[in-house]
Symmetry: C2
Subunit: 333 residues, 2 copies
């Protein structure tokens, strides 16, 4: 039996949207149970038709704000996120999932679950949609850290590879370092050193450096970056895509003719929207802590949250934590 701790507070869309995803998932996977964290009076009515052996509600009073300092997190013991993470720490649950504050999630998981022995730094990992429909490109770290050492980057590569294998069924992901040129020797000192370390240890399918220009072509399976750089990459990509989507809408809304144009071409654009849909990938994963920890998008709808539960389930089912422990057990990165 797999037990997933689900924080139902702090999302943009509220209890019902997330609860529907949970109910659908429980219906589909009979060997998954959940512990639900949030206001009982909100949750209980939504689950009234669900077999009570499949879920448990932990009534919580407070929600973690979007920005929180580490000490304040430790004081927020009545919050849904604290309690949800704590349930993984004390062994009640196998995984924790939230659509709330990213900062609170990273801080909370780092402080309560702590890093697996031998892991230099945990990293936030997220798959991006690529121009090949259905194919994701996995990026780590997209913002758990600011600066990272070469050893941190090698650790990210190892954990990212296990994630590709366990969740995306990508057995031998092509692996790149994000840099400002493809040649060996390009980039900051950490990138250059990480390049050498990965080469030296014959890291499987390591392809060297890649420029930020063409990472979403479907050929780059796993891309490693220091946290600050990965965060800029994530946000600039999201921002540019959002801006272009708004320009596309504006183009079609220009006048009657362009609106008619939309009617004719909408099927083509529906497919484009599906190709670009990040929600299929279920959010970001904090890799390196003692437990499966997933941060769904704040604006997750039922579909997106369902996919996030699925990622948590796959990670537990495929024993990724044990695999990471084994990988780092010799103490060397």
């Amino acid at each position: 039996m797999i037990t997933i701790a689900i924080d139902l507070m702090g999302s943009d869309l509220g209890y019902e949207e997330l609860s529907n995803a949970v109910i659908q998932y429980l219906d589909k996977k009979k060997d998954v149970n959940v512990i639900l964290f949030g206001q009982e009076k909100e949750i209980a009515p939504l689950f009234s038709n669900v077999d009570s052996s499949r879920y448990r509600i932990v009534d919580c009073e407070t929600v973690i704000p979007m920005e929180i300092k580490p000490l304040d997190f430790l004081r927020s013991k009545t919050s849904s996120l604290y309690k949800a993470i704590d349930s993984v720490k004390n062994g009640e649950a196998d995984a924790v999932l939230t659509a709330g504050s990213t900062g609170g999630f990273v801080t909370g998981c780092s402080m309560l679950l702590r890093n697996i022995d031998g892991i230099p730094r945990s990293g936030l990992c997220t798959p991006f949609p690529t121009s090949k429909k259905g194919k994701g490109a996995v990026f780590i770290d997209v913002g758990a850290n600011n600066v990272n050492t070469a050893e941190d980057l090698v650790g990210f590569a190892k954990m990212g590879r296990l994630y590709c294998q366990c969740v995306l069924n990508e057995e031998n992901p092509s692996t790149y370092l994000m840099s400002n040129g493809t040649e060996e020797g390009k980039g900051t000192d950490e990138i250059v050193e990480a390049y050498h370390l990965l080469k030296e240890q014959n890291f499987p399918n390591f392809k060297g450096n890649a420029e930020a220009r063409n990472l979403l072509d479907g050929e780059h399976d796993l891309v490693i970056a220091p946290g600050f750089v990965g965060n800029v990459y994530l946000k600039s990509t999201e921002g540019t895509a959002a801006m272009m989507n708004s320009l596309i809408k504006k183009s079609f809304k220009r006048n009657l003719l362009t609106k008619i144009g939309y009617l004719f071409s909408s099927k083509g654009f529906k497919e484009m929207k599906e190709t670009m849909d990040y929600r299929r990938f279920g959010g970001a994963i904090l890799l390196g802590v003692n437990g499966v920890a997933i941060k769904a998008h704040g604006n997750s709808n039922t579909y997106a949250f369902y996919m996030a539960i699925d990622v948590a389930d796959r990670m537990v089912r495929n024993g990724i934590i044990d695999k990471i422990k084994k990988e780092f057990a010799n103490g060397q990165v």
Copy 2:
């Protein structure tokens, strides 16, 4: 009289495309002359109808490759780029412009022209199109450096502000540091320190940190980043835009109906294309060296190269080098 040194070698589209831009510019601005660097036998026929007092051809044998080491650049004295930069150094020309190798351009300008006294590091500055048609957002540094100190970043802000004033007629640009959160204290140590320095000296219209997500909304006039991060931002933005453009094309080409849709909506998309057109901004500028130095896009067509000549002209005409010298004359950043 303004004299611009123009390297006609090393571009993707060749002599004719660039020469047409030069001829059009000479025709429009009677107080601008040019020195042309490249193979005389290629250039002379293209300029046969131009008043010979307006241009001079310097016959060059070799072209600088896309990747070049500093020492190799210094040995390439017969190359068009070396000679073009050298003509600014020895006072024959007021500005240098190339559509060739970016690496060669940055290396060559840094080595031959050297930094203006008091400038900690020169930075590559480029305007991006924003979602507001015709409005640019200026980014510096997009790749002349890897790592930068807080003092470098403050220097970029000062130079970038002068660029906005001299070239874009933006008298009081809103100025931001690129970071992973908007709050004070977010980002790497250099960002945090630069934030304090800019606050401390009441840098005009300094707005604090900005996330990479919404920098192209037309509200961010000037954005400062360390070179490696700025380069990732530049390339991820270009890459995402290119990917979406190709998905838009694919959407319209899907079948007969979608093709008909394109016929109806093409005017709307033409406007979108104009909004996103980076060519109007004429390329990147190396700010901080002793001379006006412009790198046009490698694939510049006549229009783009014309705009790049115009940027060079405006920078000279508005005395940006003297303004930078004055700004940094007290030796403090």
